[in-house]
Symmetry: C2
Subunit: 198 residues, 2 copies
């Protein structure tokens, strides 16, 4: 036996986390042993609480502990715009940007024939239902700039064409602070295509 | 409010871990939400168990859930050799090597005038007591190859000189698989000094 059982168990649990290999897990486990006991108890409680008390908003699909979520139930928000994202994390990223005051729709995935994910597997039918509300004016497609995200955006665009809704896609281009020289060709060509008059 | 409270709390707890910044903490927290509930409960239990049921062996200072620890109480081990290390993690590293079958002595630190750590703050007095046992023949100094570790090794060597004990220091040199070209000068000079006839 190379480790006492309780630390072995803790290491095993840490290795279940993404990006945590056996070395990191062991480092984290030994750190826990040196932590203040109150902090360890709080950590354990936070794990269970987060798992038990969070669910998805019945309106937008964002992660929440109240239904509807704090964004959907915020009366100060602009209810004419819906920003469509793939994951709850993307809502957080958009909110951190602080530039958008509308509502969200979390798809919980993207269309991927390879992984067998069809439009019905993600929350596209729910989006169509929400879009029928007359107060909605704009649908902003903020799925990821990769094959699955683009496919999903194009699919939604096609479904909604012909309605009065304005369907927009977030811009692709060079990341701010990036270097033209190191940009990949696809990004560069997207940035070129998307050029705007100054 | 940008996150629901339970996830905020979980992120906050993850950021207390070493090497976990806000981005990683948020990624880990979202991962926990997608984990199987049994695994989350097991993780929480493992944290509390490790913190509550582990302590330091009264003989060697290694981390254990039984006193004396599994190494000190293993009758098949060579009780004439004590390997002195700084941390319980170092015991694990030595055990993983599988080349040593003696006992350990964990100092729980190294002498560091800068951090105000004197020989009495680490388990050097305990080591002296253990070394008085006549069955002990060799003390292997396996403190880290840095200033504090070297200072500690030299200090112990001076204390024990004049006794019949053989005091050895683990070798410094090039790491196996390393590249001479990229070795730092101190390591290279230690490797050169430590050269052996073939």
């Amino acid at each position: 036996m190379r480790y006492p059982e309780p630390i072995l168990k803790l290491i095993e649990n840490f290795t279940r986390l993404p990006g945590v290999g056996p070395k990191t897990a062991s480092r984290l486990a030994f750190f826990v042993l040196k932590m203040n006991e109150d902090h360890v108890l709080e950590f354990a409680k936070a794990l269970v609480n987060a798992k038990r008390n969070l669910f998805y908003c019945s309106v937008c699909g964002h992660i929440t502990d109240n239904d509807p979520c704090y964004i959907c139930s915020d009366t100060s928000r602009d209810k004419s715009k819906i920003c469509v994202v793939e994951q709850p994390k993307d809502v957080i990223a958009m909110e951190n940007m602080r530039g958008f005051n509308g509502l969200y729709h979390v798809l919980h995935g993207a269309i991927s024939p390879i992984e067998g994910i069809s439009p019905e597997d993600i929350r596209i039918p729910d989006l169509l239902k929400r879009a029928q509300d007359e107060s909605i004016k704009e649908i902003i497609l903020a799925t990821n700039p990769n094959i699955e995200g683009e496919t999903t955006a194009m699919y939604i665009l096609r479904l909604m064409k012909g309605t009065d809704l304005s369907i927009t896609r977030i811009a692709h281009g060079l990341p701010v602070g990036g270097d033209l020289e190191y940009a990949d060709e696809v990004t560069l060509s997207k940035a070129f295509e998307g050029r705007r008059e100054l």
